[in-house]
Amino acid sequence: MSTTPAFTVPPLVAGKPPSDLFKRILRDKRVVVACGSGGVGKTTTSAALGLFAALAGKRVLVLTIDPARRLANALGLEEFGNSARAVSLAELGFEPQPGGSLSAMMLDMKQTFDDMVADYAAHPGDLERIRQNRLYRSMSQALAGIQEYMAVAKLYTVLQTNAYDLIVLDTPPTSHALDFLDAPRRFVDFLDHDALQWLLKSTATAGKLSFRLLDVGSSYMMKTIGRLSGVDILREIGEFVSSFYPLFLGFKDRSDKIAQLLVSRDLGFVVVSAPTQPQIDEALFFHRKLLHEGLRALSVLVNRLHRALPEDAVDASATTALQTLLGDPALAAAAMQAGADHNALVTAEQVELRRLKGEVEVHAPVCGVYELDEDVHSLQGLFAMGEQIFLRDDR
């Protein structure tokens, strides 16, 4: 079903062909979801993929749902809205293949929710009534659970516009990214539930939902809930549900489509990690979850790896050599210690990397990314990082 032409090497990176992972993404994927725990370079990785795909001639959108404005930072943009901003590649010295472009967007949860309600509300009057409802107001403002649903809802909306060949979705840290996987299904479950049907039926027969809910004189159960929460909240729940009635069908339709999207061939997951014990634990946890759900893991990336120093720079004879070189035993000792620390770190990283590979590699390739000498906060930095993932070093 792919209409992507054969991939050609961008002139900028001539001499280094695309990696298998990159080829696969360019050929098969419309959506790549980057997931993993906090502080492993997930946003940076997403942005790097966005940059490389744009250079390869794709129209790319990088969408972050992270509350912190990290992607803005990595891309050197001042500020994001709920709309896409073009990243001016040419100004920064990049020359994409014809047609290639990079945009970035940071999701505004509340705005997305409001937009969706506005899309589905049958009458302007409904919309106003919903917006005045206190449950709705609190729900659309503060509610963690629904954020992940909003993220995929937005993803779906953007996909529908066909404005992009590839969307890279950066997700919040692991435990929430799991919510993110479950959210559409939870929502469908919610809408399909017998209880809702029961209520909606009562709406249809009685004309007013609150009639049934608030007929507390005859309902022991409702009276007890009233004791717990205060009776007015019941009226508001009732009003909320009945106001939402026309929206529910639209929501359900969208939820079904999103659930399909997550398992579709067009979409793949990249698990991002770092070579420390807790981060590898999380990567394994996430990878198992993907397998369990039948979702497509394209790769597990391990950022921030370090290279070992050569043996003769840290062995016993190095001490004497360094003393001669530095003319100061204290400085030589400090240099030796720094070298030993570094190699101990590398050893520990390799242990973690092997542990990850042992379990994951039969399912998905593991790609190690070495830490750069500089903090990544520019497109050049993103390029240097992405080079390790998306290009093959044949030298």
Binding site: G38, S229, G230, D232, L331
Partner: protein, 310 residues
């Protein structure tokens, strides 16, 4: 600093991946060693710190793990049940109402209810008594990371505004009383000397004030690289410049490692300068380990380092 442990509740947060859980646990260990009865509460039991300690996972019931230190997880489904039982008083009534699937369905749909009851559980433990004294002198909460922390602590405000009357409103008021009383609750922030974690630390501090989440407590700066001797980078560079080819080749990578490490350290210090001066001055600084292994020994070492500064 002894007053640190006079606060009843310390909520420890920060950006994901900064070592928030281990810092929170170390804080609890130090207080327990000083004879306080401490309850350590986790908000994300699936990623429990107990895996580093070689202990079984936590459930909702506090369990004595070290001398004076109890640990428990904050688990929404358990907390909802307990909250309802507490409010309704009778188990039979609870069963009649809450085991009803339609009711359960709507409780699940009430936004933020699980966040709300988790705070209710914290409030409950804070008020728990053993004889005449509080059951726990100190409760350390390993709280969610920035974004979710802010939503979480805003929930009682939302309920307080939303509920005209009734037990939920009363609970919301109780929680706010606890959270906003600086003698009872402090919000501690963990960060590391990197750009984003520092930005988030500032963001939390700002939100704490703007949204009246809780009173700011301490700032912990974790994973600080120990500095190298001042002259090392320059001397090594100069020495290698005048050395023969074989020596240059031998130590080129070491030179780069030392220079990169110093570069990251200085960059980290620059990022830290963004923290408000008062926070930076009072911050507790914790060194980065050469090898980042998270096990019981590492937790105890962190606790010892923390204790030395209190």
């Amino acid at each position: 600093m002894e007053r640190l442990f006079d606060t009843r509740v310390r909520i420890v947060t920060g950006k994901g991946g900064v070592g928030k859980s281990l810092v929170a646990l170390s804080l609890a260990i130090v207080a327990a060693r000083r004879g306080k009865r401490v309850l350590f509460l986790e908000t994300n039991p699936p990623e429990s710190v107990t895996r580093f300690l070689g202990k079984p996972k936590l459930d909702g019931e506090p369990r004595l793990v070290y001398e004076n230190l109890w640990m428990a997880g904050l688990i929404p489904s358990e907390a909802i049940r307990e909250y309802a039982l507490m409010t309704l008083k009778f188990k039979a009534l609870y069963n009649a109402v809450f085991e009803n699937r339609i009711v359960r369905y709507f409780l699940r749909a009430v936004p933020s209810l699980s966040e709300f009851v988790l705070l209710g559980k914290l409030w409950f433990h804070e008020g728990e008594r053993s004889g005449d004294a509080p059951k726990y002198d100190l409760i350390v909460v390993d709280a969610p990371a920035t974004g979710h922390l802010i939503s979480w602590l805003r929930v009682p405000h939302v309920f307080d505004e939303m509920m005209p009357t009734g037990p939920l409103k009363k609970s919301a008021r109780d929680m706010l009383d606890m959270l906003l009383d600086p003698k009872r609750t402090k919000l501690d922030i963990v960060t590391v000397p990197e750009e984003m974690p520092v930005n988030e630390a500032i963001e939390i501090a700002h939100a704490a004030m703007q949204h009246r989440l809780a009173t700011r407590g301490l700032t912990f700066i974790n994973r600080i690289l120990p500095p190298l001797p001042d002259a090392l980078v320059a001397t090594l560079h100069a020495g290698l410049a005048g050395a023969d080819g074989a020596t240059q080749k031998r130590f080129a990578a070491l030179e780069r490692t030392v220079a990169t490490r110093e570069h990251w350290r200085q960059l980290g210090e620059e990022y830290l300068q963004r923290l408000p001066a008062a926070d930076l001055k009072r911050a507790i600084r914790l060194a980065k380990r050469a090898v980042p292994i998270a096990d019981e020994a590492a937790v105890m070492a962190l606790a010892a380092e923390l204790e030395a500064q209190l």
